[in-house]
Symmetry: none
Subunit: 232 residues, 2 copies
């Protein structure tokens, strides 16, 4: 896979733990960066542009969760995958952690194998080919850099979920996806919502796209949905 050679930033205030993780990841072919606080971490993110972050929940000064929120808020780093590290007994915060924008979370102590497995999974999900490319279909433009959608040069106002949904569709055109697959791909595997929720977001997306483009999102009855330029 293309996973090898990816840069992973490890943020934890305890040096031995960082070290242990770094060793495990390097054995798995990753390149590691380390930071013991949020300030250093931020510099490294800006300067060295890691491909993902392992972020300890408990950090001196600014907490991990706050840092995660900050990263998700900023354009340039919003797409950076984050795995939260939480100590035993903090699991009640799981939901909060995931909602702060983390793509996964893992509880200490964890096995190196589990860590690597999750990291792979998150990287796989987070790396659609050409994330930075703007995609254009029939006058509908999705610009990941500006995080914005245009239909015939007019800005389209879509919510965050609809944006991700559209991005997924535009990077995976023509293929039919079930509601469950969409939940996996767009919502992330760790979230449990009703399948019908997909319908609602499809509806919101179609509405936002307007008459000119809503037919790009086709219903595949009995199966799910498809993004296609060809008429159904």
């Amino acid at each position: 896979m293309t996973n090898a050679g990816k840069r992973v930033l490890i943020v934890d205030d305890e040096a031995p733990i960082r070290e242990m993780i770094a060793v495990a990841l390097e054995m798995a072919g990753y390149e590691c960066l380390e930071a013991e606080n949020v300030q250093d971490a931020h510099s490294l993110v800006v300067d060295l542009r890691p491909d993902m972050i392992l972020l300890d929940w408990m950090l001196p000064g600014v907490s991990g969760i706050e840092f995660a929120r900050r990263l998700k808020r900023e354009e340039a780093t919003a797409e950076l995958p984050i795995i939260m590290l939480t100590a035993k007994g903090e699991e009640e915060n799981k939901v909060q952690g995931l909602e702060s924008g983390a793509d996964d979370y893992i509880t200490k102590p964890f096995s190196p194998r589990e860590l690597v497995a999750r990291l792979k999974a998150v990287l796989r999900r987070a790396t659609p080919p050409g994330v930075e490319e703007t995609i254009e279909v029939n006058g509908l433009i999705l610009d990941p850099v500006c995080h914005r959608v245009m239909a015939h040069d007019k800005a389209v106002d879509v919510g965050p979920t609809e944006y991700r949904l559209l991005q997924f569709f535009m990077t995976h055109q023509e293929r039919a996806y079930s509601r469950s697959q969409l939940l996996d791909q767009v919502w992330g595997g760790n979230v449990y919502v009703e399948e019908r929720t997909v319908d609602v977001h499809i509806r919101r997306l179609r509405k936002a796209l307007g008459q000119s483009h809503e037919q790009l999102i086709q219903t595949v009855r009995g199966t799910g949905y498809r993004f296609s330029t060809k008429a159904s």
Copy 2:
């Protein structure tokens, strides 16, 4: 979906809990088996081949985790998905649980909805996607990935049943099938419908294919139908 009708084995020593889970799963369309200890569970696994197991961590005698390890060691059951049930406060065992081969774990108490959602997710991951090659015959293309039929580059609009019927025919060309064989293969063995219903769907499929391709589906008088490129 194809999730319905899957058999789930519930292993827990407390009858009320088993019952509660069973009710929740049955409402979601699953078939439930129950066992209160590892011995019974093992027999059921061997005899009735469930599609997945909900396994309590704490069991009298052989513990759940040992049972999981055993199942994963044996050839015949290694692929069987397992979800571990753990009581709150046992969370430190999560890693151990996952390493023993469980595909997910869930902490009691849990909501029925979460249970069903996780179960679905695990089953989904465990179900290998079928062959997804597109088949082309005389300009008629069936593309399972896009879930779509094209005749000379024009999309053909077919309902779900006609789609399955066509897919069956295209993967089993040149051979004649009786109505009851088609009902078995396309509708699934356990349905009770009139044989003449096949005729109606054949008719719908032919109509959808249009003049250019309807002759691919040939009537074998006194027997049934056949998909063939050769004129009859």
